[in-house]
């Protein structure tokens, strides 16, 4: 894991997949905690699993939708103490802005947040009589994602609700690193059942701790 993330440097933006614990690349994040970087920008739906990283002083900003879902009692304090800037986006906007960056699109035109504080400071674009918020694309230097199966071409297969942000983050990042419960031979993942085509993934690492239904990590931030 440490080797997989060796090119991460200070002040980079890291998009981290997962929703709660499902599809969360926990081993890559643990390796990042050990790396001792500074001024990282983290893009992830939740903030709960980054408390150790925040406490180590590695994070300058978190871009997310639901920072305190299932968070520990101390997370808010950690964020405040570390001077971490919190940038909130509606969850669908977060997802779509990552997809836009990965799709070569200039931004997202959405009604979500119109008439609320989420429209503040945004350009409003009128299309055929309706106003939309223009939210710019959201890209990352690295994406860390988690898969059930991966092959050395980077094809990924997920299980259940582990898909979540892993596809759009893999798309949005210059370099995507996937940890997988099982690294399989090329050809094992069916062409009809590939959740993230390998074109979006640059490196694949085998998890040392497999995640199964009785995994002790389950429930960590429920």
């Amino acid at each position: 894991m440490n080797d997989a993330i060796r090119d991460v440097s200070d002040a980079m933006t890291i998009a981290v997949g997962g929703f709660g614990g499902a599809g969360f690349p926990e081993e890559l994040v643990r390796a990042l905690e050990d790396q001792g970087r500074k001024d990282l920008v983290i893009i992830s739906n939740n903030a709960a699993r980054f408390e150790r990283l925040i406490n180590s002083g590695a994070v300058s900003q978190i871009i997310c939708s639901f920072p305190f879902g299932g968070a520990s009692a101390t997370l808010r304090e950690s964020i405040a103490n570390a001077g971490v800037e919190l940038k909130l986006l509606p969850q669908g906007t977060l997802s779509e802005c990552l997809r836009a960056a990965g799709s070569g699109l200039g931004g997202v035109l959405t009604r979500v947040g119109f008439g609320t504080s989420f429209a503040e400071g945004r350009s409003i674009i009128n299309v055929d009589g309706t106003d939309f918020i223009l939210e710019p694309p959201l890209s990352a230097d690295f994406a860390f994602v988690h898969a059930e199966l991966a092959d050395r071409w980077g094809n990924l297969s997920m299980r259940g609700t582990a898909r979540n942000f892993n596809l759009v983050m893999a798309m949005a990042a210059a370099t995507t690193i996937a940890e997988a419960n099982q690294v399989v031979e090329v050809g094992h993942i069916s062409p009809d059942g590939c959740d993230v085509p390998g074109i979006f993934v640059d490196a694949v690492v085998q998890c040392s701790n497999l995640r199964d239904a009785r995994d002790i990590r389950f429930g960590l931030d429920t």
């Binding site: 929703f19 639901f66 986006l89 509606p90 947040g113 989420f118 979540n164 931030d221």
Partner: protein, 211 residues
């Protein structure tokens, strides 16, 4: 006698037609699926990427890769499907979800909803609440009519930051079921023993009695 949380949920469940696709928010709304009769097919969507979710049965082991948007362990029913986040929000924003059921801190006469933070404190974050409230075909709110300390939650204008503007279709509270049309609110029904005067007194805008 005001409705209990379970009675509110049962009341909502009774109003969901067969075949609807429903997104369920955190809190009281999570009680609703338990009151849908087995012979009425209703599909529950969760924005983290599942259509057809069901609560885990007593003998089912939780799977860390199978959770709902409230991060509770779930299962999938036959005919359900999993998908990634951007497609999930295409469903939500694109008007493909028949109904969203959410909680609220405040509701305004114009149908604005505030349910993600007070003036002082963010609860969990905005999450998918703004997308759900803005995107679903029908938005029903499950809530207690007033706060624990007796402050009104149904107000002429919300004082807390909005989640979405002019979106609430119905409110199911412990005192009444209310339906909105523009800025007119109609009482659909009152909890047993609750008078229109009581309900009106607990509401910060005019409500019209049942016909």
């Amino acid at each position: 006698m005001a409705w209990t949380r379970n009675e509110i949920a049962a009341r909502i469940a009774a109003d969901i037609p067969k075949g609807w696709v429903v997104n369920i928010g955190v809190g009281m709304p999570t009680l609703v699926p338990g009151f849908i009769p087995d012979d009425r097919e209703v599909l529950f969507q969760s924005e983290n990427g599942i259509l057809g979710m069901v609560a885990l049965g007593p003998k089912e082991s939780p799977d860390p890769e199978l959770i709902d948007a409230g991060k509770r362990p779930i299962a999938v029913r036959p005919g359900g499907s999993f998908f990634e986040s951007s497609l999930s929000f295409s469903m939500i924003r694109g008007g493909h979800i028949d109904l969203g059921i959410v909680g609220a801190l405040q509701i305004s006469r114009a149908g604005d909803i505030a349910n993600w933070r007070t003036d002082e404190k963010m609860i969990g974050g905005i999450g998918g609440a703004a997308d759900v409230c803005s995107g679903v075909k029908n938005l029903w709110v499950a809530m207690l009519h007033v706060t624990d300390t007796g402050e009104l939650k149904l107000l002429d204008r919300c004082s807390y930051p909005l989640t979405a503007a002019a979106v609430v279709d119905r409110v199911y509270s412990d005192l009444a079921v209310l339906e909105r049309s523009d800025d007119q609110w109609q009482v659909v029904s009152l909890a047993p023993g609750v008078s229109l005067a009581q309900a009106s007194g607990a509401t910060g805008f005019p409500i019209k009695g049942p016909d």
